[in-house]
Subunit: 191 residues, 2 copies
C-alpha cells in the first residue's frame, strides 16, 4: 500500500487536558511518541497536516479556552502553514471547515491519529469514511481511557481501544500501525 | 424524564438484509418487538417518525435496491406521512435531508432505534449529539453482530452491543430501555 502525496494527517486533540486525572486509566503511553514520528515524516515530505483542538464549552471541561488544559502537549504546537480546526464536539468535521479544506486541497485520503480512540478519533473516522474519504486510523498513535458499561462493570482502556478499532476496521477505515503508515509514505520515511 | 411531543423516533435499517447469515451471531432477538412497541406509541400520539433505509452501493451488498434484502422487515413499512431517508453509508445524516427535516420541523430531541448498535445506530447517535440534538438510544431496541478484534479474537454480539452503548453514554446520548422510553412519552403509553 502506498499513500498519495496529498494524504492529510489529522492530529486530534493532543492537548494537556488529557493529563487530567479525571480521565482515569489510559492505555498506549507511546501514542504521543508515535504521533511525533508521523508528524516529522509528514513535514519532511511537505504533506498536509491538520490539527483538531478541543475547546470545552462547559464550565468544568478539561479543555476550557484560557486554561492550561487547552494547550497542545509539548511538541504538538502546529507549525505555520498547518491548519487548526477548533471544535467543541467530538467530530473534527462538525462546526469546522475541515471537509471544505480537504476538498479544496484535493485531499481524498486521510490518516487519523490522536485522542481518544473511542470518542473523537472514532467519530471523526466514521464521518471521514462516510463522507467518502479513504480513511486510515493508526492503532498505536491513538489511546483510550477505561470506561464503565451500562451495568457498571469497568472496561479497561485496552478493551475500550481494541473495541473502537474493531468497530472501525473494514467498515469506516483501514486500521494500521505507525510502522506501516511510515512505510506507505510516497518517499519511504527514515525517521 | 419527559420527552417533548416534537421528539422524533429514528428507526434505522430494519431491513430483510440483516437476516442474511453473512452477519453471524446476533444478540437481542427482541429488538424488533421493542421497536414495534415504540413505533405504535409514537404513532398513537402523532409524534414524528423517520425511517432510514440502507441501499447497498456495492454489487454484493446485502441491501441492494431491487433485491429482497432491501425491503423493510415485516411490520416496518413506513406509513404515509412518515419520512424515509435512503442512505448508502452508516450515518442517517450523510447524503440525506435528515438534519434539515429535523430543524424545519422544530425537532430538538431524537430517540434512536434499529440495526446495528455499533455501526449505523452509533454513527447516527454520535452525529445527532454533536449536531446539538438531545439524543437518546434505546438499548433493547437495537442489536449487534459478533465481530473480530484486530488480533482475530471474536467479540460476541453482546460484547459489541455493550461496548457501543458504553461509548455513547454520557458523551453523545442518554441510553435508556424501551420501558423507560414509553414511560417518558408526553401521554403515558399503555401499549
Amino acid at each position: 500500500m502506498k499513500l498519495p502525496p496529498s494524504t492529510a494527517l489529522l492530529v486530534i486533540d493532543v492537548q494537556e487536558g488529557f493529563n487530567d486525572p479525571r480521565w482515569g486509566e489510559r492505555n498506549n503511553p507511546h501514542a504521543e511518541e508515535n504521533i511525533t514520528r508521523l508528524l516529522a515524516a509528514w513535514r519532511a515530505q511537505n504533506m498536509p497536516v491538520m490539527h483538531a483542538q478541543h475547546d470545552s464549552p462547559g464550565a468544568d471541561g478539561a479543555f476550557r479556552p484560557g486554561t492550561p488544559g487547552n494547550r497542545p502537549k509539548p511538541g504538538f504546537m502546529p507549525l505555520v502553514g498547518e491548519s487548526v480546526h477548533r471544535k467543541t464536539v467530538n467530530s473534527m468535521f462538525i462546526g469546522t471547515g475541515l471537509e471544505e479544506e480537504l476538498r479544496s486541497r484535493g485531499v481524498q485520503t486521510v490518516v487519523i491519529v490522536g485522542l481518544t480512540t473511542n470518542h473523537c478519533v472514532s467519530t471523526t473516522a466514521r464521518m471521514a469514511g462516510n463522507l467518502g474519504f479513504k480513511t486510515h486510523v493508526v492503532s498505536d498513535a491513538c489511546a483510550a481511557f477505561a470506561r464503565p458499561t451500562l451495568d457498571g462493570l469497568m472496561r479497561s482502556a485496552d478493551e475500550v481501544h481494541a473495541a473502537a478499532l474493531s468497530d472501525l476496521q473494514d467498515e469506516f477505515a483501514t486500521v494500521l500501525d505507525t510502522a506501516a503508515a511510515l512505510a506507505a509514505l510516497p518517499a519511504r520515511a527514515t525517521a
